[in-house]
Structures are given as structure tokens and as C-alpha cells.
């Protein structure tokens, strides 16, 4: 999650105080990892120095929280470009799962047991996400689904790999 670009996106809605940005970030993107005020103002400061936001006049009461941040044309252009650019489609070839299976086979360890344990851990996580989905809001469900689909594709790979362990063992030990 890119904090600067996400904050730019929130500012693209309307000029906002740092406090409002933190609140909305935490609500929609934080997922149990809220931003500190230090991160919020630090990021906004860097965005301002780069010309992507400008700081409005202090309102009555002063203090940092009384300032309103406004996105600039440069900031809006950068945000727009980021938003429409697809994320790099990773081939996922060097995941830790892959490394563990290959190393287990090279070292003659029980790769099947590892895959069974991993399958159980994946399913346990899928259960938790499913429960979140059943009880949470639509935003929670959307995020849970993203996780579920990723875990599901890992599981497919785990099953396929489990079915090919003997052949794989021959290849990596050759």
C-alpha cells in the first residue's frame, strides 16, 4: 500500500485536514495498522516539498491540525497515472513456498508433510477471512475476497506440487 499515493487520492476528493486523512486512511486502508500522525504529517510535508500538494491558510485556532491540504495539478496527474496503471503481474515464482519445497526435496526432507501443514495453515486463514466476510461490511468482504483468491491459488499450486513430488525430487536432486 503506497501511503503517499493513497493520501493524494483522498485529497483528490476534496481538500482535507491531516486529521480527516488519517481517519479515512485508517477506516478504508489501515486494516489494523493505523497511520501515526507523524507519518501523516511527514508524508504531507514531503508531498508539499515535491509540489504535489499545497498547504492552505491556517484557520482560527492554529496548530498543525488547522491546516487544510489541497492537491496540485502535478499531484493529481501523478495520482491519475498511478490509478490507471496496472500493477505488475508478478509471476510468483520465487515465493517462500516454492523455496521451501525445493529445499526440502534437495535435502531429502519430508516435503509432503510440509505441504500438508501449509495447506492446513492456508485453509485456517481462509476460514478466518470467510468469517470476516460473513460478519463484516462490504468493504471488509472485498478485501477478504482478495485474500481468499490469493490463498486459493496458492492451494491449487500446493495440490499440484504434492501430486508431482516424486518427479520433482528426481529433478532437483539430479
Amino acid at each position: 500500500m503506497s501511503v503517499p499515493l493513497t493520501l493524494l487520492g483522498l485529497l483528490e476528493r476534496e481538500p482535507s485536514h491531516g486529521y480527516d486523512l488519517k481517519r479515512d486512511y485508517d477506516a478504508f486502508f489501515g486494516r489494523g495498522k493505523p497511520l501515526s500522525f507523524g507519518q501523516v504529517y511527514g508524508t504531507l510535508g514531503r508531498l508539499a516539498r515535491a509540489g504535489k500538494v499545497v498547504v492552505g491558510e491556517s484557520e482560527a485556532g492554529a496548530g498543525p491540525d488547522r491546516k487544510r491540504y489541497v492537491i496540485t495539478q502535478q499531484g493529481a496527474t501523478e495520482f491519475e497515472a498511478w490509478l490507471t496503471e496496472p500493477v505488475e503481474a508478478e509471476p510468483h515464482l520465487q515465493t517462500v513456498l516454492f523455496a521451501k519445497v525445493v529445499l526440502a526435496l534437495m535435502l531429502g526432507r519430508d516435503a509432503e508433510h510440509y505441504l500438508d501443514a501449509q495447506r492446513a495453515a492456508h485453509l485456517q486463514r481462509m476460514r478466518e477471512l470467510t468469517e470476516t466476510k460473513r460478519e463484516g461490511s462490504l468493504v471488509d468482504a472485498l478485501l477478504a475476497d482478495h485474500g481468499l483468491f490469493h490463498l486459493e491459488s496458492d492451494l491449487r499450486w500446493i495440490d499440484l506440487t504434492a501430486a508431482r513430488l516424486d518427479a520433482l525430487a528426481e529433478e532437483v536432486r539430479a
Binding site: D116, A121, H122, L123, M126, R127, T130, L148
Partner: protein, 234 residues
């Protein structure tokens, strides 16, 4: 120590063996399911999941091993006693709803009650309560040909649960549905089962469906994988 030791075991397969002619389907499968549990049976196609489910449900008789339900041997019971058990205490849902095409949706749901000797008006009234619960309002008089896949599967689910069975056996209940509809059916199934304390054994090869269960086992080559999965304590 297995998770079921602490709880009352409702249904259990012990070293079950069953072959179809020369094809071995189960080769010493053991599984214990506690009362109130929602259990997923997973595994590759042809591994013996359906055969195991049918043995547990008293539909097939194993050639060796034992099936226990609520303290009774099912595999040695006579056919009459077994069909009474299936009718009075078990519910079933299959991949394709298998609704009776000549009957309306409502009559399909009422069927287990009618077969159990309930009066028609009482049975239809009870069946009717399930239509609202499962979001099927207004479809009571339709025949199966006039229902979408997801609607038909929800009608089948209502029929599986209408007699308030102690245990529901479901074989790929979402297998013919797209994933969103399938998940909706699973969500309803789990909600209804939890509400009335029904034990559920659901066969599925889809992890997203299995994730609605509290625990899963994997069937491979006619055996239940010995790897004991973690259990959610809820």
C-alpha cells in the same frame, strides 16, 4: 488426541473398505465427526469422497470396517431400519439439487415431511417458512424448470433441512453454481445449520467452500489423510 475426543462423537467411520468391482474406492478410511461440527471432506476427484459420504449416511454398506451413528452400528443394520434413520434423522443435499420436476418448489421442500407422515397442510406450512429464510419469497409455486441454478440449489437446501435433521450430508452442494452464488448457498447453509445445531458433512473440492466449515479432512486414495488440521474453536 483428535479434536473429537473431547466432544460427543455423532458419526464415525472406522477403517472402512469398499470396492466397486475391482476398483478400490475406500481403503481403510476413518473419520469421526462431533455433534454440531461443520466438517468439510476435501480431496482430488476420484479419491473416494462421495463413497465415504454415502457410507457415513448409510446409503452404501462397506465391505469391511464399521459405521457408527449416535452410538449405533449403521453398517450392520437392516435396510428398513436404515431407511427410517435416513428419513428421520438425516438430511441430504447433492450437487444437482435433484428436485422432483413434477412438484412445485414448495412441495419439493415439504417432501421429507410428507414421507415422514406429516399432513399436507402442516408440511406445506413448515416448508413455506424456509422460503423467506433462504430469500426465495414468491417462488413457492414454481417448478424446478422455472428456477435458476442458485434458486434450485437453495430449494434443495431447504428440503435437506426442513425435517430439522441431526446431520446434513452435502455432496458438492455448490458444484454446479458460479462462485458468488455458491458462496451465498454456503453462507445460508452454515447460518441455518448453526441456528438449529445441525451437524454438517460437506464434500467439496473447492477451498473457498471448505472455508465455511470449522474443520477439514483430505481424502487421498481412499484414505483420510492422517494430517490433523487445526480446528477453529467457535
Amino acid at each position: 488426541m483428535s479434536a473429537t475426543d473431547e466432544n460427543e462423537c455423532l458419526v464415525e467411520a472406522r477403517d472402512v473398505v469398499l470396492s466397486f468391482g475391482r476398483t478400490p474406492a475406500l481403503q481403510g478410511a476413518s473419520l469421526a465427526v462431533a455433534a454440531g461440527e461443520i466438517m468439510a471432506i476435501m480431496g482430488p476427484s476420484g479419491s473416494g469422497k462421495t463413497t465415504l459420504l454415502h457410507c457415513l449416511a448409510g446409503i452404501l454398506t462397506p465391505q469391511a470396517g464399521e459405521i457408527h451413528f449416535d452410538g449405533r452400528r449403521v453398517d450392520t443394520m437392516g435396510e428398513t431400519e436404515r431407511s427410517t434413520l435416513r428419513r428421520d434423522r438425516f438430511g441430504f443435499v447433492f450437487q444437482f439439487g435433484q428436485l422432483v420436476p413434477e412438484l412445485t418448489a414448495e412441495e419439493n421442500v415439504a417432501l421429507p415431511l410428507l414421507l415422514g407422515g406429516a399432513r399436507r397442510t402442516a408440511a406445506l406450512k413448515e416448508a413455506g417458512t424456509w422460503f423467506e429464510r433462504l430469500g426465495l419469497d414468491g417462488l413457492e409455486k414454481r417448478r424446478s424448470g422455472e428456477l435458476s441454478g442458485g434458486q434450485a440449489q437453495r430449494v434443495a437446501l431447504a428440503r435437506g433441512l426442513v425435517s430439522r435433521p441431526e446431520i446434513l450430508f452435502a455432496d458438492e452442494p455448490t458444484g454446479s453454481l458460479d462462485s458468488l452464488t455458491g458462496e451465498h448457498v454456503m453462507d445460508l447453509l452454515v447460518t441455518a445449520a448453526r441456528e438449529q445445531g445441525t451437524t454438517v458433512i460437506v464434500v467439496t473440492h473447492e477451498p473457498r467452500v471448505a472455508a465455511y466449515a470449522g474443520r477439514e479432512v483430505i481424502v487421498r486414495d481412499g484414505k483420510v489423510s492422517s494430517f490433523s488440521a487445526m480446528r477453529m474453536d467457535s
